[in-house]
């Protein structure tokens, strides 16, 4: 265990070591931490399993999982596995290139390359099609030299799109692993005159063995709930995922029990994947240190420079060209956006703000409980992952069923959107915060205990300041993801309170595709800005 986790950061190791000693002092604080953690975990459970339960209770009659549903489950697993595998495989050389090269604009490139991950689905799909579609740039270029347009639709299209969405996340996670290898090890390898192949064996492969399984699982989980992307690029009903089967059950047949059971299957698949992911090493996501690169004495050879340049260029082209297409398409419309856009943008921003606040509160409560109460942590952490895999339609329906008898769900549409978005961002926040918090406890826990720092004092004087970077990164991701998400509450959205993504859909539904393209660009810009501001906020003045 220790040697496997070591090359990543050593945090997993210290974590295992520190847990038994924590809590010797300040039982009151410990209990409070535990209660807060349990409360946060229960809130997540209520949103995931609770909503499914609400739908099940309301359902009448038994359910029947037909051969079509099994086909959907098979396809879902298959495409998610392939997408995750390819995203990870491609991210490795890209991350390696970014880890060992320094060039002007590298920081900007790393930030921009993260954009696909936070884009609204429809915007990303149209951007991809502008490049890879039948009349996209690639096909047009091929047409000039007499070739047929490329056929993007099919399983390969689904995977292309999922790689487009998730390559940035995979790259970031793996890059993090690379940069977490202590610089002395590279120096040591250099004094030993190690070749790139030796370095791969000594340093990189052990790190990858620790980082890749977790990266694979996270992306696998994200891909299991894909629906619109899988269908559109899959080219037809062959590409039916579980989420689409849920739509079928809910909309056409109003078969709530089947919808709920399918949602449970989806949760079970992902819960299992999350448990496996936590068994095998899971990568550390922190916002720390991506702007540095590791000085490498073995990689100065021309061949390696060319390889790195090639990979970085390829990845940047693949990820940025569709973004450029979105920008080019939206730019002309920016000047005459409908006035409602600005109100919607403001609404989206405060939903994102609220979502950031909720994410941080939930993630902190769970993180501290996980770190200080390892036995509880063992079941708390997987619960935190469930949300990625929850069916948005079933969450929305379940929330509606829960809220309707109590109050007017429409009045709560935006806060509920923020809450659900926050829970969706929770897994990433936990990945960033748990290892960092464990490290803080191991390094300063005893000191804090000896100084009698407990409760609020410990939180505000020690934990929060030390966690600034991962907190900033969590906030950045939560905010940006929330900006781009349509939300699960279309079932009961308030007509007068559209968010920016909803407005985008409304413009499209009203044939106003040009203005919609303008809104898409605005949304892209705002999401990136939100990400950048929070991520920077965590780093500026953060003492190492």
């Amino acid at each position: 265990m220790a040697d496997r986790a070591g090359p990543v950061t050593g945090r997993a190791r210290v974590r295992a070591g520190v847990l038994p000693v924590v809590g010797a002092v300040g039982r009151v604080a410990v209990t409070r931490t535990g209660i807060a953690g349990v409360a946060a975990t229960l809130a997540v459970l209520a949103l995931t399993l609770g909503t499914v339960a609400a739908v099940l209770i309301r359902a009448e009659g038994g359910f029947r999982i037909g051969p079509q549903d099994w086909a959907a489950i098979r396809f879902t697993l298959w495409q998610a596995a392939l997408s995750a595998l390819l995203s990870v495989a491609l991210a490795v050389p890209v991350a390696r290139g970014l880890a060992r090269r320094r060039f002007p604009g590298r920081a900007v490139l790393v930030t921009l390359m993260g954009a696909p991950f936070i884009l609204p689905v429809i915007v990303a799909v149209l951007g991809l099609l502008a490049v890879f579609g039948r009349s996209g740039w690639v096909s047009q270029a091929l047409g000039l030299i007499g070739f047929d347009p490329i056929g993007i639709y099919g399983l390969h299209g689904v995977i292309l799109a999922h790689v487009f969405f998730n390559l940035p996340l995979a790259t970031r996670l793996i890059l993090q692993g690379w940069l977490a290898i202590p610089a002395e090890r590279f120096r040591l390898a250099a004094t030993l005159d190690a070749t790139p192949r030796d370095i791969a064996r000594l340093l990189e492969r052990p790190m990858l063995r620790a980082v890749l399984p977790g990266t694979f699982m996270v992306i696998f989980l994200i891909c299991t709930t894909s629906f619109a992307v899988a269908l559109t690029l899959g080219g037809g009903p062959r590409a039916t995922t579980v989420e689409l089967a849920i739509y079928h059950a809910f909309r056409l047949d109003f078969d709530l029990s089947r919808a709920a059971v399918l949602a449970l299957i989806q949760l079970a698949m992902s819960g299992a994947a999350a448990l496996i992911a936590l068994r095998i090493a899971v990568p550390v996501v922190t916002g720390a240190g991506l702007d540095r690169s590791v000085r490498r004495w073995d990689a100065d050879r021309l061949a390696l420079r060319v390889i790195d340049a090639l990979w970085i260029t390829l990845a940047a082209t693949f990820l940025l060209t569709p973004l450029a297409a979105i920008a080019a398409r939206g730019l002309p419309a920016l000047a005459d956006l409908p006035v409602q856009v600005w109100a919607a943008a403001w609404r989206s921003l405060w939903v994102a703000g609220l979502s950031v606040a909720v994410t941080l509160v939930l993630a902190l409560a769970m993180t501290l409980a996980i770190v200080r109460h390892p036995r509880m942590g063992r079941w708390m952490e997987p619960v935190g992952y469930l949300a990625i895999a929850a069916s948005p339609l079933v969450i929305g329906t379940g929330l509606f069923l829960i809220l309707f008898p109590l109050t007017d769900p429409v009045a709560l549409a935006l806060p509920v959107t923020a809450l659900v978005n926050a829970v969706m961002a929770l897994p990433f926040a936990l990945r960033a915060l748990v290892p960092a918090a464990a490290e803080v406890e191991s390094r300063f826990g005893r000191l804090a205990d000896s100084l009698g720092m407990t409760g609020t004092a410990r939180l505000t004087r020690l934990t929060l300041p030390r966690l600034r970077r991962p907190l900033g990164f969590s906030a950045a991701l939560a905010g940006a993801l929330s900006m781009g998400d349509l939300g699960v509450v279309t079932l009961f959205a308030d007509p007068g309170q559209a968010t920016l993504p909803l407005l985008l859909y409304r413009l499209m539904a009203a044939y106003r595709m040009d203005q919609a393209a303008g809104v898409a660009l605005l949304l892209l810009g705002l999401s990136l800005a939100v990400f950048w501001i929070f991520d920077r906020g965590g780093r500026v003045d953060a003492d190492v």
């Binding site: 009349s135 009903p237 703000g353 329906t397 923020a418 279309t490 009961f492």
Partner: protein
Amino acid sequence: MFHRLAIFAALAALPLALPAAAQGKPVLTVYTYDSFVSEWGPGPAIETAFEAICACDLQFVAAGDGAALLARLRLEGTRTKADVVLGLDTNLTHAAAETGLFGLHGLGDVDFDMPVEWEDDMFVPYDWSYFAFVGTRGADLPTDFRALGASDAKILIQDPRSSTPGLGLLLWIKAAYGDEAQAIWEGLADNIVTVTKGWSEAYGMFLEGEADIVLSYTTSPAYHVIAEDDDTKVAVPFSEGHYLQVEVAASIASSDKIELANDFLRFMVTDAFQSVIPTTNWMYPAVTPTGGLPEGFYSLIVPDTALLFGADEADHARDVALEEWLTALGR
């Protein structure tokens, strides 16, 4: 950072604190689909027009599309706050009637301008159009399903499981070809570029040039003519005839404002409502306003035959057709 978040949260709460209803007047709650109430839909103009005569406060509540609307109503059951539900279509009315939530409209005879005879004492139509394939003027586009299947024209359609037009096409082919429907779908399989979740995705992709034709409505070209002065988009007349979509509204039987609800249904078939429809919903009004239709609507194709399953047949036809569709395209 946390102070900033606190401010954020305080700002966030502000919009909720605003009073939801105007004081004193009775509130008529109308459930409808999202694009009806959007800034570019008929909702705002209709709200103003009705409130000018009803001495009431008309409040729209939106839920996704027609199917989502019915699903929401079923979830709420008799405790629903809706007084009127607007936006179901003929594929949903059978299931809607079975919920037992809807009341009779008692409107008497209305002289509808629709290609089919309308006799329904529960659901009142407010607009309609034909499903159609929309392509570019001048292109050599097939004019029936067999020819389309034999051609190499590329088409974009929507998934019947998540989209109203997608379901419309399913029933269109079923109504036109009956037991041969599956064979027609098999012929179309290699023409279909892809199947999208909703209308917007498919139409957006069509405008970006992803396919030669897209499943939409005969009235879609009117938007381009009227709003964009662009007459290059045309609906292709199909010799089998075109399937009809009729959008309807009905009152909720248990509403405590049943009089007001029926007033709204009555208002719905008047000029004040109907004249808003063409250039906001881009559909034909159920009753042609005295001023006629907007100019662009007269250049639209008018199918010779209107196809439409009765409400009670539609459910069964849908289940059979969906199986056939999945079989034909699932290979």
